[in-house]
């Protein structure tokens, strides 16, 4: 029964009488079922976070949680202010974005506007390789190579510090920013560039004043995605940034991110019951909401600033 799905112009074979092809119906049902897996996943995530978090918020007021500046949930005089964890997370995201945004955009402009085809064909796969490095290896690299290097360079960093993790994370995100930005720039039609050249602009001006603004929605989406990935990153910070929940804006110090807290505390067992362990879900929920909001904002931004070239 393909009534509503008949594409225009299809030659319809006229059957003597209508017949429901049960095979087709069955297939469609099966496919729909497969598609619902993703919905169930989201439902599962929401449930597994919200239910325990609600219990948590019955004992700890959301206000104290969101505004408190001391995070000491597992100690005798327990304090549940999540601000240090958020500050830690944002510190990492900030410093890594400082690396990833300009460098990623630079790489993108180069690949899109300057590099010859042959060069691009070689470089793009290498970028993909960089993106594919497992984060545990990156964390190990940050701890055993970058931190000693920073110390040798004279920066008095603690053994676990935000800077090493941020630098490595930033480099890891360059491919993300680069590839999405490059896609956006590739979608800008030649005519716009040609128009710029015709007016006497050079390559630099065309790239930065014509192409980039035209592709800005995709570039912003790339930035937001990279930032959101930085927020959600666990292994690099768990290995190299430390577990000391404190409010500091000095990247040379030890910090704790939301993800590191979850990873370190949930290490293998989360028993049902104690308030201490429900903190994992409260923090997890905060993290989930943050990344969700960023994702929605990114979609909005893309829609708002998208230039359509048809």
């Amino acid at each position: 029964m393909t009534s509503a799905h008949v594409p225009v112009g299809q030659a319809v074979t006229v059957l003597p009488r209508k017949r429901i092809r049960w095979g087709e119906v069955g297939v469609q049902a099966l496919l729909f079922l497969a598609a619902t897996v993703s919905v169930l996943t989201t439902v599962g995530i929401v449930l597994s976070l919200v239910l325990p978090a609600t219990e948590f918020f019955r004992e700890v007021s959301p206000w104290d949680f969101l505004t408190g500046t001391t995070w000491a949930p597992l100690f005798l005089d327990a304090q549940f202010g999540v601000v240090p964890l958020i500050v830690g997370t944002l510190m990492i995201s900030f410093w890594s974005s400082l690396v990833a945004f300009p460098l990623g955009l630079g790489v993108a402009i180069y690949l899109s506007e300057y590099a010859r085809d042959r060069v691009t064909r070689v470089l793009k796969p290498i970028l993909e390789i960089l993106a594919a490095i497992p984060t545990v290896v990156l964390g190990y690299f940050a701890l055993t190579f970058v931190t000693p290097l920073l110390r040798d360079l004279g920066l008095d960093v603690e053994i676990f510090n935000a800077l090493s993790a941020s630098l490595v994370l930033g480099v890891m995100l360059i491919p993300t920013v680069a590839s999405l930005s490059e896609d956006a720039m590739a979608a800008v039609p030649r005519d716009l560039r040609d128009g710029g050249y015709a007016l006497g602009a050079d390559k630099l001006q065309v790239s930065t004043r014509v192409v980039v603004p035209a592709a800005i929605s995709g570039i912003i989406a790339a930035f937001v995605l990279a930032f959101s990935r930085a927020v959600g990153e666990t292994m690099i910070v768990l290995i190299a940034a430390g577990q000391l929940a404190q409010i500091t804006f000095d990247p040379r110090e030890t910090i704790a991110t939301m993800t590191a807290f979850i990873g370190a505390t949930g290490n293998g067992d989360i028993p049902t019951g104690s308030i201490e362990y429900k903190t994992i879900f409260a923090v997890g929920l905060t993290l989930f909401v943050m990344t969700l909001v960023m994702n929605l904002v990114s979609i909005r931004l893309v829609r708002r600033y998208r230039e359509v070239y048809e």
């Binding site: 630079g106 993909e128 190990y140 190579f145 006497g200 959600g232 666990t234 989930f288």
Partner: protein, 291 residues
Amino acid sequence: MTTLDAPIQMGRQRRVWRNRLFQGAMLFAMLVAFGTLAVLLVDTVVTGWPELDRQLFTEPPSTVAEEGGGRPAILATLYLGFLVLFMSVPIGVATAVYLEEYANRERWYNRLIEVNIQNLAAVPSIVYGILGLAFIVRGIGLGRVVLAGALILTLVVLPTVVVASREAIRAVPDSIRQGAYALGATKWQVVWRQVLPAAIPGMATGSILALSRAVGETAPLIMVGAVVYVAFDPTILGAYTALPVQIFNWTKQPDPTFQTLAAAGAIVLLVIVLSMNALAIFVRNRYRKRW
């Protein structure tokens, strides 16, 4: 390209310098990206080389660093890889087919599914770990076993597989479908016999890349307790520890030999992940169809 008196006026000298500076900046960006990659690979290989021997693959881990190996972890990672492949590809492709070929975009539930997949792709992997712990390990009581880890990793990479498959299906030109319909094929016949075969290279590429990510994931597995010390080969319903988690555990141990082991494990993991990536790139280039 002559520089006529143009609306954008600039001294020629300045122009040249600005361009040079900009090109320098871009080159710097490339240098940082590729240079870091090179340094990382070299550092890992050089550090881990001493421990990269048969023992790494044949011996279980040990408290005595010199005697330890990563055999259970490597095996478990391979098992996980296969399980994830067999679970994520069918479901992911089926979802993509549904969304691209069958779903009526006007319906609210179909739009919901689409938005949902986009959001899932942005969820941090550790949140999947929480989900897995609550529902898979505890909820249905599967426990800390390989199958549970595989299920969670499948959920992590599913959005990626779906997105890649959708793009592959979308790239198949409509004329192919139209031709098949014109010959009297049913929708499923069109999909199964025309669209999917044409989309296979794209889907394969996406699946392999998703798989390589699954193999390298650590955070979700930590949450479901890929145990610290496992000295026996993994079975699907048995306790396990995966290679990334094993590397993580070795990294934490201050004994320099363990650090070397960590680097050696990292080499193995990199080889696995990078060869999968290379395979994906190869498939993409070889079978790239020009319509």
